[in-house]
């Protein structure tokens, strides 16, 4: 059996195991644990999309929450029925054609991604001429603009009241399905020539130009593709929580995604997945420290926000002792596991 068929078989087995786990989880885990498992998948999609922009192309973008918001709103508008929309829009009656738009869930998520990608394309052309921290500030500004526009376009978005009762299509199957689509797309992209060019731009943009690469074109494509998957992630998140409002998509959300990506390892696909799992689970697990504690006859009331304190401490420790994140730029690949002497190959 050559390496290619072996890797294909291993990938097949891994997907089958994941499917079995989902099937088992649906029957045996309680609602809370299922929700956390769902969040892991959505967060991994978001971390992968930011890693494409920041980790692989070196563009410090802080606009993720904006693209997620676009995705979430498009998905909400496309999955709610006309009746639901007309009764829910209180501030202003919902404008045509948004009142009658409807699409099946898969198509709706694709549209969510496409709208986010289209807006990213418009933003990219002026903004990607900037580099480094300036790009971060400009994209952060654009994310805020999107949020303010969503708040004020009340005939489309229901303004600050947000949208409730979004059909909760995003179950484990959908979320992990989209996660796998994102993962395989990223693996193929990063291991292609296109991926090498992106890494070259990240490593040294002048050197890349010097080799005849039209760096601006590649940066725009990378930013747009990253925004597509951010839109998909936003759509799934909206469908998962069934309620969205503009306040949800503040900078804190971008910061969370940045945390998954950086903690996992900038420039590592495996890192993004591991980072999302570890941090999502850790954030939930740390809720214990916010519960009231009884020691003997003393009763200490729960301190809300305590987990964020501990979490920030953990982040500081990561920055101090393992700046490159959990994986650094390394990947876990089938080849890496089964024949250490050979290099390269496909990651899972």
């Amino acid at each position: 059996m050559n390496r290619k068929t072996r890797n294909l078989a291993l990938t097949g087995i891994a997907i089958a195991l994941l499917a079995f786990f989902i099937w088992w989880a649906q029957g045996n885990l309680d609602g809370y644990k299922i929700q956390v498992t769902n969040l892991v998948a959505v967060n991994a999609i978001l971390a992968l999309s930011l890693n494409l922009i920041y980790g692989f192309t070196g563009m410090f973008s802080l606009g993720h929450a904006g693209f997620m918001a676009l995705g979430a709103y498009v998905n909400a508008l496309l999955t709610l029925t006309q009746d639901q929309k007309t009764t829910m829009w209180i501030l202003d009656p919902i404008a045509w054609p948004f009142s009658v738009m409807h699409a099946p869930f898969f198509l709706s998520v694709v549209c969510a991604g496409l709208v986010a990608a289209f807006v990213a394309l418009l933003i990219a052309i002026p903004v990607l001429r900037l580099g480094g921290d300036y790009l971060g500030i400009a994209t952060l500004g654009f994310a805020e603009i999107i949020r303010v526009v969503l708040t004020n376009l009340s005939s489309i978005t229901n303004g600050a009241l947000g949208i409730k009762g979004i059909p909760g299509h995003a179950n484990l199957w959908w979320n992990y399905g989209w996660f796998l689509i994102t993962l395989f797309f990223m693996i193929r992209l990063i291991n292609s020539n296109f991926g090498s060019v992106l890494k070259a731009i990240r490593d040294d943009e002048i050197a890349a130009k010097n080799m005849g690469i039209n760096t601006f074109f590649y940066k725009v494509v990378s930013f747009t593709v990253g925004a597509f998957f951010a839109g998909v992630g936003g759509a799934l998140m909206g469908s998962l929580t069934t309620t969205i409002d503009p306040k949800m998509f503040s900078f804190a959300l971008t910061f969370n995604v940045l945390m998954f990506t950086v903690a996992g390892g900038l420039g590592s696909i495996t890192g993004s997945v591991i980072g999302s799992i570890v941090i999502t689970v850790l954030l939930e697990w740390l809720r214990i420290v916010e519960n009231p504690v009884t020691i003997g006859s003393f009763e200490i009331p729960g301190i809300p926000g305590m987990r964020m304190v501990l979490f920030s401490l953990a982040l500081i420790l990561i920055i101090l002792f393992r700046r490159e994140g959990i994986m650094g730029m390394k990947e876990i690949t089938w080849d890496g596991i089964f024949d250490r002497s050979k290099r390269g190959g496909k990651s899972e």
């Binding site: 090498s196 060019v197 890494k199 490593d203 040294d204 002048i206 050197a207 130009k209 010097n210 730029m329």
Partner: protein, 239 residues
């Protein structure tokens, strides 16, 4: 192959290159030498299309074409026309392997067979790179990185190879090795434009040389003549 007429380069209010004219004949090694800030790098970078504010004419004659003015064109156009540069400070891609660095050097090419042949040729010129083909660029020593930068420039199959300070930060023995290889590349038919601070080594190898001082040409001549010139000896060769 390349003629520059009255080239000016500006960085904001700074007038870095003040109207220089040079000629690079096909098959020759031409060198620009001078101290820091003389305008050597600005000249070479404007030929590579990396400088925005350029005035004057850069006239390029491809081997099978007619003369054209390429001043102000984009870097990717220059590479497609057959002008490759190994930049100052090497600019190796630290997180990509040696092999990937070389492959990206051939980014503009579509002839896979030719690219493989050229890669093997680079490995022949620099056997050390072959030994380290799977190593990340950032883990190479300074000399190896310089070899990789030169090899990468060759991968685009250029007619004119421009080398910006290839001896920078190298031990004397390595400098000799790098210059030997520059001679070999030239012997194999590539025209070379060499920018150097190491005047002695550069003049020894060059067929023609220009000495730049604060943005203008102070002196020019055949490499061996300038080596004997008392003014050059005093200013650049330590008496």
């Amino acid at each position: 192959m390349l003629r520059i007429e009255d080239l000016h380069v500006y960085y904001g209010a700074i007038h870095a290159v003040k109207g220089i004219s040079i000629a690079i004949p096909k098959g020759g090694i031409v060198t620009l030498i001078g101290a820091n800030g003389a305008g050597k790098s600005s000249t070479i970078r404007s030929i590579a299309g990396l400088v925005k504010n350029v005035k004057g004419r850069i006239l390029y004659t491809p081997p099978d074409g007619t003369e054209m003015n390429i001043a102000g064109r984009r870097p990717e156009d220059m590479v497609r026309l057959g002008i490759a540069m190994s930049p100052e400070g090497r600019r190796i891609l630290p997180h990509l392997t040696v092999e990937e660095n070389l492959k990206l050097g051939a980014y503009i090419r579509t002839d896979t067979d030719g690219v493989e042949r050229d890669r093997d040729h680079v490995y022949e010129l620099f056997p050390r790179l072959k030994e380290r083909s799977w190593q990340k660029g950032g883990t190479l020593s300074g000399g190896e990185q310089q070899m990789l930068a030169v090899g990468r420039a060759l991968m685009s199959s250029p007619h004119l190879v421009m080398l910006d300070e290839p001896s920078l930060g190298l031990a004397p023995l390595l400098v000799k090795e790098v210059f030997d290889i520059i001679g070999e590349i030239n012997a194999q038919g590539k025209t070379v434009l060499l920018v150097e601070q190491n005047a002695f080594a550069a003049l020894k190898i060059a067929s023609y040389a220009y000495i730049l001082e604060v943005g203008a040409i102070a002196l020019e001549g055949r490499g061996e003549d300038l080596l004997k010139d008392p003014r050059v000896k005093e200013a650049y060769l330590g008496g």
